[in-house]
Symmetry: C4
Subunit: 232 residues, 4 copies
C-alpha cells in the first residue's frame, strides 16, 4: 500500500476492461486514472501485456509528465494524458485505444455524424476528428503536442470537454475521457459501437441525414439535462 | 412472492437474453412482459446493468404508464411499451434494443426489403421504418408519442401487429413484440440477423430483387398458415 | 439401440456442430446423415432447439421422403434431402443453413466467383447460384422441387456433385453435401468463410479478377488429384 | 526429448495460437520455428486439426526442404518456408494463414496502404502484394516458387525483410515472419487487424490519404529506432 494505490487499482481495473470489451489487440491501448487533489495519475506501463498487469505495476506520473512512482517505463502516450489532465480539471480518467471502427474513422479523417439517438445519448455534436499535426509538431515533442491537438480541435469546434467526452486524432486513433477511469472506458466502448453503426448507416443510405435538432436535444437532455429521467 | 412475480420473472429472464444474444452494449435495451388480465406489465429498471438485475427489481406498470409496484425508476422507454400494450391486446412482450444492424437501418431511414426466405419466414412485408416524429411530438411526451408513431406507421403501411412483429423507428432503433417476452426477444435476434444479411445482400448486388410473391407466400404459410408444417 | 442408431448419432453430432461453428441462429439449419445400403437417412426434427436434441430424436426417412422411424415431425426441408440422396448415390451427408454471408449471396442471386486459392482448394468452379423456382414449382411440392432445382443447376453449369459440394439456392440459402455428415458440415463452414472473403474482396477491388486457370488447377490437384500431397 | 524438441515445442505453441487468435478455420494455416545454428525448422504436419497437435508431431525439415525428423507428412507449404529461411538468415519463425481480411486484400491483388499509426508502428511501407506467379512457375515446383515470389516482391519494392515482416501473395493469402515463431504469429494477428481497418477506412472515405511521411517516421522510430521508447 502507498498513497497512490487507490488510483493504481482504479487504473488497473479499467485497463483490464479493454480486452474484456474487445477494444484492444495485444497492447494497443492504455487507461489512466487521476487524483486531482494529488495532481497525479496512474497509467499502464508501456508494452506490457494485459495478462501480466497488476495494480502495483501502474506508473504514477504528475501533470507535467514526470514519473512520481513505479518501477516500469510508462506508456509512450503518457504525455498526452498529462496535458489533458493539466488543462481539463474535472476529468478523472483517460483512455486511448486503436479500436477497429473508431480508428478507421480517424484514418479516414472524418468526424462521425450524429446519425441517431444512440449517439445523441452521449453528445449532441458530431464526434470531432482532429486534423493530423504539422510536421513541426510531430518532430517536436510528439505525444505532448497530441494533447494540444486534441484541446485545439475542441476549441475550433466550439465544444467543451464536458459536452463531448471522445475524439478522433486524424490518422491515428481515438481518445476518450470522463469523470473517472471506468466512465472513460465506458465511453471508449460506446464510441466503437457508434463508429461501426455510422459506417453501416452510410452503406445502407449514402445520403443518410443527421438526427434532427429536436431529437438531438431530447435524447441528450433526458439523460444529462437538469430534468433527466434516465438511470436511478 | 407477489401477484406480479410471474411477469417479473418472465421479464427478468427475457432481459437477460439480450446480452446473451449479443443484442446490447451496457444497458442499451429493455424487455417487458405483460399480463393482460391484470392490465399490467413488468419492465427493466432504468440504467441498471444486466448483471445487477433480479426478478424483483423489475418495475410493474399499468397500461396508462403508472407505476404499480417496484422500488426503482422504470425504463425511460416505458411509456412506449404502455401505449403498445393498450392498443394491441394480443401481445404479451415487447423488446427495445439498439442492436447494430437494425439500428443502422433505422438511422438510414429505410425499411428492410424482403430479400429472402429467412425474412419471409417471419413476415411477408418489408420491415417498416417509421419516419422521425414531428418536432411538436418530440417536445411533447416523447416516449408516449413514440408508441403512436409505431402504431401509425403500421396503419399507413396497411399492416397489422400480428402480420409483422418488428419495426424500426427512424433515427432511433428497433422495437419488436410477440405473444410473450421470449418471443419478442426471439424476434429481436431475428431482426438483427435479417438486417445484417440485407445490407450485405445489397453490397453484393445493388440491384438485388425482392423475393417473388409466390415464394413469400409459400415460406410464410408453411410456418404460419393453417396448413403449416414447421415445428412440432 | 436400433438399426438406425449409427446414422442418428452421426446426424446428431453433425447438427450440434452448426451452432458451435456459428452457422445458425436458433433453429435455422439442419443436417442429415445417410446409410445408402439401407436407403435411409436420419435428419433433425423440425423446429427443435439444438440444446434439446438427442440422437434418438433424429427422424429416419427413406429416399422417397417417407418416415421410417422416429416420434417427431421431420425437418420441413426433408424432401430436398431425399431427392438429393436418391439422385446422388455417393453422398452420405447434407447440410442446409441460413449462414449470413452465403445466404446474402443467394439473396443477391449471384454465384460466388473463384477469387483465390482458399476457394480453389475446394472446387475449381464458381459456387453456383440456382435461379428462383417458377411459380408452378413453388406452388407444387416446394421442398421436393428445391431438390430438382439444385440438380438442374449443376447440370446447367456442366458440374457434377463430386466436383462441387456446395450450392446457393437463389433468394433462399445454401446447401452443402459430402461423403458423410461431418464433411458436409465442414463444407458449410468453408462456404460461409469463402462467401465473406468474396464480398470483402469486391469491396477492396470492384474489378478483382478470378484466379487464373493454372492456379485453380494447381490448388485443386494438390489437395484432390491423383498426386495430391495435402493431409496424412 | 531429442535435439529438435526446442523448436518443436516453439512451433507447437505458436501453431496453437492461430485458432486462439481467430486467424484460422479448420487447418487453414501453419507456423514454423527455425534453429539457424542447426539449419532446420519445425513445422505443422499437413491437414492435422489443431486440437490433435502435440510438440512431437511437428515435422523437422532442413533449409533445402528435406525432412530430417518426424513421422508425419509436413505441411504442403513447407518448401515456401524453406526458401525464406535459406535466404533470410535473421528470421526464426514464419506463419501462413488464410485470415479473412488479409486474404481478401491478396485476392483483390492490392497492397495495403499505410493509412495510420497502427500500421506505421510495424512498417513504414504499404504491405506489399506479390503478383500471381507465371504459369510456368505454377506448373513447376509451386510452393518452392512461392518463396521466390515473396523474395522478389520485396526486392522489386526496395524493401528488406527486416523493414517489413508481412506480405500478401496475390490471389492466395498472407505470409508473415519474425525473429521467432511467436513474433511471426503476433505479426499475423496485426496484419489481419490492419487489413480490416484499411478496407473500413476506404469505405468511410474512398479518398483517404496515406499517413504523412513525418508521422510514418515518428511512429516507426519511437517503437523501433535507436531512440525508441516503447516497451520495457
Amino acid at each position: 500500500m502507498n498513497k497512490y494505490s487507490h488510483i493504481q487499482t482504479e487504473a488497473y481495473e479499467a485497463n483490464m476492461q479493454l480486452p474484456a470489451l474487445g477494444l484492444v489487440l495485444f497492447t494497443f491501448g492504455n487507461v489512466s486514472a487521476a487524483d486531482s487533489s494529488l495532481g497525479v495519475f496512474a497509467i499502464k506501463p508501456s508494452g506490457v501485456p494485459y495478462a501480466d498487469l497488476t495494480p502495483d505495476k501502474m506508473v504514477v506520473v504528475d501533470f507535467e509528465g514526470q514519473k512520481v512512482a513505479g518501477d516500469l517505463r510508462f506508456s509512450s502516450d503518457t504525455l498526452t494524458h498529462a496535458v489533458l489532465y493539466k488543462h481539463w480539471p474535472k476529468i478523472g480518467g483517460i483512455v486511448h485505444t486503436h479500436s477497429t471502427y473508431a480508428t478507421a474513422w480517424a484514418q479516414a479523417q472524418r468526424s462521425i455524424p450524429v446519425f441517431g439517438t444512440t449517439h445523441a445519448d452521449y453528445t449532441t455534436a458530431d464526434i470531432p476528428c482532429a486534423p493530423p499535426m504539422s510536421d513541426e509538431m510531430i518532430k517536436g515533442n510528439y505525444e505532448y503536442q497530441t494533447g494540444f491537438q486534441i484541446i485545439d480541435c475542441l476549441k475550433n469546434n466550439s465544444l467543451s470537454y464536458e459536452e463531448v467526452e471522445m475524439i478522433l486524432v486524424g490518422n491515428h486513433a481515438p481518445f476518450t475521457w470522463g469523470k473517472n477511469a471506468a466512465k472513460a472506458v465506458h465511453n471508449s466502448a460506446v464510441l466503437e459501437y457508434i463508429a461501426k453503426m455510422a459506417i453501416v448507416t452510410e452503406q445502407i443510405n449514402s445520403q443518410a441525414p443527421r438526427l434532427k435538432p429536436a431529437l438531438i436535444a431530447k435524447h441528450f437532455e433526458r439523460k444529462h439535462g437538469p430534468d433527466s429521467y434516465y438511470g436511478q
